[in-house]
């Protein structure tokens, strides 16, 4: 990790904020050149809050989560930020051992693919017990007993008899429960859930969501929930950050976002949700595609697909701004944001 000068005051002033990410930029080396997959994004996460990261594939949601835990492959990946402040402590510049103390202990992660995210040759019970073995002062027996309780807690039927079984003997939904039990093991402050329900069918999906909601309520943890499914967002999130091509383009409380989607991309996403309560013939889709990471345009990255785009949009990148003074609803858009467009365009041209 590269540390940048810490120019902005830290979040220690606000003890309610558990994670404060400022200007996170994660780049990957592709054919010898560095390209930013996540571009200077900032967000905060409060205690016991669920923040949803939404966007289509490749917009940088997963990379953001992996960056927080410094799990980006080190050979071809690079993380820079002003700060990644967790519980008043900057995670940037921590040694690998110090980071390991935090991973799975204070911040843990649930991965998308329960099929491949569990080790096929180790027993399920052992994989759950492991986090306790390395983070808690427990011997094998105690860790196993605690792991068994965790498997019970995530509602795996007859957990004690399945403890020594292997991942291939579990169904997809059961494996995702095992992943959740693993993430929960050390009672972390934050769980980063990277599309935990995407690979599951709808009934299992709602069970998993209910389980996560319940656990969050019981343990007081915070949750960063990554998904491309706005329906899931509505049911689980407190706040939502909409990401597009490595930027956060809109961030708001869940009610405010669904009531007033402001960024043209958010609007288009909302129109693309299939609805059973309305009688529409066709499903709306957003024309065009996300620009490839190696050929990102100047200015607003959504401009090429945006009906409202003005000349300024292709020149300058808009920053996140409150939609009106004092609001917690922020949007990065020249047209929809609270801007004096003529003044800005004059300045840009002059």
């Amino acid at each position: 990790m590269h540390t940048m000068p810490n120019s902005i005051q830290s979040s220690e002033s606000n003890p309610d904020i558990i994670l404060d990410v400022r200007k996170l930029r994660t780049s990957f080396r592709i054919a010898g050149e560095w390209h930013a997959a996540v571009r200077d994004i900032s967000f905060t996460l409060r205690r016991n809050e669920t923040l949803a990261l939404v966007g289509e594939s490749g917009c940088g949601k997963s990379v953001t989560a992996l960056s927080v835990l410094d799990l980006v492959p080190s050979q071809n990946g690079r993380i820079e930020a002003e700060q990644i402040q967790f519980n008043g402590r900057n995670l940037l510049g921590l040694s690998e051992d110090e980071m390991r103390e935090i991973r799975g202990n204070r911040i843990s992660m649930i991965f998308q693919e329960p099929m491949t995210a569990l080790n096929p040759v180790l027993s399920v019970g052992h994989q759950v017990a492991e986090a306790l073995l390395y983070h808690r002062d427990m011997n094998k027996e105690e860790a196993n007993r605690a792991a068994l309780e965790l498997l019970d807690q995530v509602k795996i039927p007859s957990a004690s008899s399945r403890f020594k079984e292997y991942p291939h003997q579990f169904s997809g939904g059961m494996r995702q429960r095992v992943m959740i039990a693993m993430a929960l093991a050390c009672r972390p402050d934050i769980i980063l859930a990277d599309e935990p329900t995407t690979a599951l069918d709808v009934t299992i999906q709602s069970q998993i969501l209910a389980l996560l909601g319940e656990l969050k309520r019981d343990t007081g943890m915070s949750l960063i929930f990554i998904t491309h499914n706005l329906g899931v967002v509505a049911s689980i999130a407190d706040r939502v950050a909409v990401m597009y091509a490595g930027n956060i383009v809109e961030i708001a409380d869940v009610d405010s976002l669904f009531a007033h989607p402001t960024h043209p991309y958010t609007e288009a996403l909302m129109r693309s949700i299939p609805r059973s309560d309305r009688d529409t013939e066709t499903l709306h889709s957003i024309p065009g595609q996300v620009p490839p990471i190696s050929r990102m345009p100047d200015g607003c990255r959504f401009a090429a697909r945006c009906d409202l785009a003005r000349p300024i949009c292709r020149k300058l990148d808009p920053a996140l701004q409150q939609i009106n003074a004092g609001s917690t609803h922020e949007v990065a858009c020249w047209v929809r944001g609270d801007h004096d467009l003529t003044a800005i365009e004059d300045r840009a041209n002059g």
């Binding site: 991973r103 799975g104 491949t116 080790n119 096929p120 390395y134």
Partner: protein
Amino acid sequence: MKDHHAHLYRPSTDYSHTDAIGRHVDYLCPGAYCAWRSGTDYLGDQASAAALDAMRERLGLNRPLLEQYFEFMGNALSGDWGESMVTGKSILGEVINVLPYTLELTFVSVIFGVVTGIPLGIWSALHRNQLIDYFVRLMTLIGLSFPAFVSAILLLIIFSINLGWLPVISSGGRDDFIGWFRDLALPALTLGTIMTAYIARVTRSSMLDVLSEDYIRTARAKGVPNKVIIWHHALRNALIPVVTMVGLFLGVLVGNSVLTEIVFNRPGLGKLIVGALGQRDYTMLQGLMVCYAFIIIFINILTDLTYGLIDPRVKYQ
């Protein structure tokens, strides 16, 4: 097995008891002419037709191939492998005499290859595209490019002739451990380094595959220490293809031991088979073929059972 070899020492002009397949094989097989010669060699150039017929009668060559085959297999399974055409000794007895030498050579070589090759492969994988990795890859490439008899001779020159540490001729002594070790060291090193090279390369590539798997990232996200990730989470998965390869190459190694045994003048199946070839001792060759077949089958069973130990997805019921 029998039908393949039985016709070898049948005069190729004599079709009195062959069927269509036998005749074709007879022509296709380059040994047919020699075989015919050998029949007369064995009995002498001046052997009469009557003597040849008697010989065929004794070896059962005048009977249908299928009958020859089943009789041989039946006898072989009940422990009667016949006698050597040359010495008249029991083939099974001869094989049992030398089999331990070949087996100890093969298994010590494999153990050497496993013990050195796996750590080397892991080390190389962990330093991917760094100097260490290039070095290991170059050395293993050289190691597996050398034929066994060349490296055997090089080792002899270095350790036996120049340094004088180890004997030139490995008689396979087993009076005491030191003698046993001194006699086994060079032959085992010859075969072992080939194994090391193969195992290191397979381990490296399989380790690299496994390290990029999702479950390795899961383990890291759990805060599992790096050492545990490599030796516990990754290695067991990476070993699955290594076991396949070791199983396959054990067979190759048994074959390679032929050359090694000759270079070091060491008793073993290899020396026995070359001796039998030189003397056109077809009954002995046939017995040895059966013996090799049993060894290969045994190795394959062992390999399959090893999968079960490493990979819980493999279950035998």
